[in-house]
């Protein structure tokens, strides 16, 4: 949550100019297709053919790559270790002292990591190329309740302030003699007095925020207008339907693959 618009990276590419829903549907389609098509390598196929080109076109490939790897690496490592070493039964690929590395476990980890990579890189691509307020507007136009849209957007802007507040509270306690420098135990114990001011201070603020929103007619029922306008085209609308259709086809195919043997037997 670094920039003014959250994760959004300001660029003037065609990708950035696309309607938010187009990008959202695209990412969801990649996710589902990568999940459903059988084979351990299919998520990687989707990653290469689906995510990388659009991230490149959007001028955000370096950020997507860097932050996806940073986020997924620890998870992938534990997945490989746990599934590789503790898969019950199966073919042993390598003996490591008392532990045996299983092929099935490794393939499971490969596929699992691939799925996570698609999900994370897709999510990052979407957020780097789409302003969150435009995305929330697009979803509101399709029926997303205003309260959810408000919570998402205000969280982006208010969370960094929260961190500042936490630092100030810690400073205030240190100024009263709370020792925070030293051993891990000392530092952890120092955090306990912080919980109350952080929580109660926020609750006091929430009252005022709720009132401020009511004053601005936030609680009003009925349709709303928007200063922000979104550009959509017939082509994009058609593309979104096609992508949805493609996903339905893949779901159908997967179901058939799963059910067919039961009918054959």
């Amino acid at each position: 949550m670094s920039g003014r618009y959250g994760l959004y990276v300001e660029r003037q590419t065609e990708i950035h100019r696309l309607h938010p829903l187009t990008k959202l549907v695209y990412v969801l389609a990649c996710l589902l297709v990568g999940w459903l098509i059988p084979g351990a390598w299919s998520p990687y196929f989707v990653l290469l053919i689906g995510i990388v080109p659009v991230a490149l076109a959007g001028g955000v490939l370096p950020q997507v790559f860097r932050n996806t790897v940073k986020t997924v690496a620890p998870f992938a490592l534990s997945l490989f270790i746990i599934q590789g070493l503790f898969w019950t039964g199966g073919t042993v690929v390598q003996q490591l002292g008392p532990f045996s590395l299983k092929a099935e476990g490794l393939w499971f980890a490969v596929r699992g990591t691939g799925r996570i990579l698609v999900a994370v890189s897709g999510f990052l691509f979407l957020n780097y190329t789409t302003r969150s307020d435009e995305l929330m507007l697009a979803l509101s136009q399709k029926g997303l309740p205003n309260s959810i849209s408000y919570v998402v957007l205000s969280t982006i802007q208010i969370v960094p302030r929260f961190q500042q507040k936490a630092n100030t509270i810690l400073d205030a306690q240190r100024s009263r003699g709370l020792e925070t420098e030293g051993s891990f135990l000392v530092r952890t114990r120092a955090l306990l007095p912080m919980v109350l001011p952080l929580l109660l201070g926020s609750i006091v603020d929430i009252d005022e925020r709720a009132i401020a929103l009511e004053v601005r007619a936030f609680g009003r029922q009925g349709p709303r207008t928007s200063l922000l306008t979104l550009r959509d085209t017939a082509g994009q609308r058609g593309a979104r339907w096609l992508m949805a259709l493609a996903v339905v086809v893949v779901i159908g195919w997967r179901l058939w693959l799963w059910l067919a043997p039961r009918f054959a037997a």
């Binding site: 957007l153 603020d205 005022e208 004053v215 601005r216 007619a217 709303r224």
Partner: protein
């Protein structure tokens, strides 16, 4: 425009009523200031005029509260919004946080009221010029100073064209520059005479400068009501937990020391003080 009849209100966990037998009538276009010690009921009165007492705070309210013809206790907050605006002291808590620029932040209320986009744009330009933020329309609301944020809060409420705007100590968290910026806007508001302005304020020298009328609250009751020159020079102020401006205090001391006539009216502003002492 504003009428309260025998209003008595207690908060849900309150032991004593926060407001007692309050009756008040404020005509349209008047700039009325309420002063009083902390706990006297200023914030409760502001919340009542904006409909948040009793809707938001619950508790027991008796008596009539009518603002611009709307019976507030019987109306929903959504019905009241747009007719009555409320601005309070913490500028940060009044920024929605859901909009990324000053312009969009001001638009928020108009969007909720389903105002057409073309009309929205002109109203926003007009109000930003009125509060002096037109150069900052594309800035993030969080990149403004306290005084600027408070002017943004006022703009966001004024753009909805309320008949009444209530301000609860809008400058208490601001530095002198921010206070002056806000008071300048309030002075222009008073001069424009379109809306009825109700202001709760501790800084008496500012109240003296442009309120048309001053009322005093003490322990939930209305104890004084009149022109700033009378109320702010009254010897009763101390009894109500208030301290007159140093101009008034100096004038009184001069009278006590025999340097000035005991009958001369006491000054409440710098200009009046200069005249008094010359």
């Amino acid at each position: 425009m504003i009428r309260l009849s025998d209003v008595t209100y207690s908060y849900p966990r309150g032991t004593a009523p926060a407001l007692s037998d309050l009756s008040l009538e404020i005509p349209a276009g008047q700039f009325c200031a309420v002063i009083g010690a902390n706990g006297a009921g200023k914030t409760t009165l502001c919340a009542t005029l904006a409909g948040f007492v009793p809707h938001f705070y619950r508790g027991d309210l008796s008596g009539d509260v009518t603002v611009a013809g709307i019976n507030l206790p019987l109306s929903s907050p959504a019905e009241i919004a747009g007719t009555v605006g409320l601005v309070f002291s913490n500028p940060f808590n009044q920024i929605t946080g859901a909009r990324f620029s000053v312009r969009e932040e001001v638009a928020f209320g108009l969007e909720n009221m389903a105002v057409p986009v073309a009309e929205m744009e002109s109203r926003i330009e007009e109000i930003l010029r009125f509060v002096g933020l037109e150069g900052l329309a594309d800035r993030s609301p969080f990149a403004l100073s306290g005084g600027q944020q408070q002017r943004l809060a006022i703009a966001s409420v004024l753009v909805m064209r309320p008949k009444v705007i209530v301000l609860d100590e809008p400058t208490s968290q601001l530095d002198p520059v921010g206070s002056r910026e806000v008071f300048t806007v309030l002075r222009d508001l008073a001069a424009a005479d379109d809306a009825t302005v109700f202001l709760a304020e501790q800084k008496l020298e500012w109240v003296a400068a442009f309120a048309d009328r001053v009322i005093v609250l003490h322990q939930g009751r209305l104890v004084a009501d009149g022109l700033p020159a009378e109320i702010l020079a009254s010897p009763d102020l101390e009894r109500y937990g208030l301290e007159p401006t140093r101009y008034t205090q100096a004038a009184r001391a001069a009278q006590a020391a025999g340097l000035r006539h005991a009958d001369a009216p006491l000054p409440v502003t710098l200009e009046q003080a200069v005249e008094f002492f010359s």
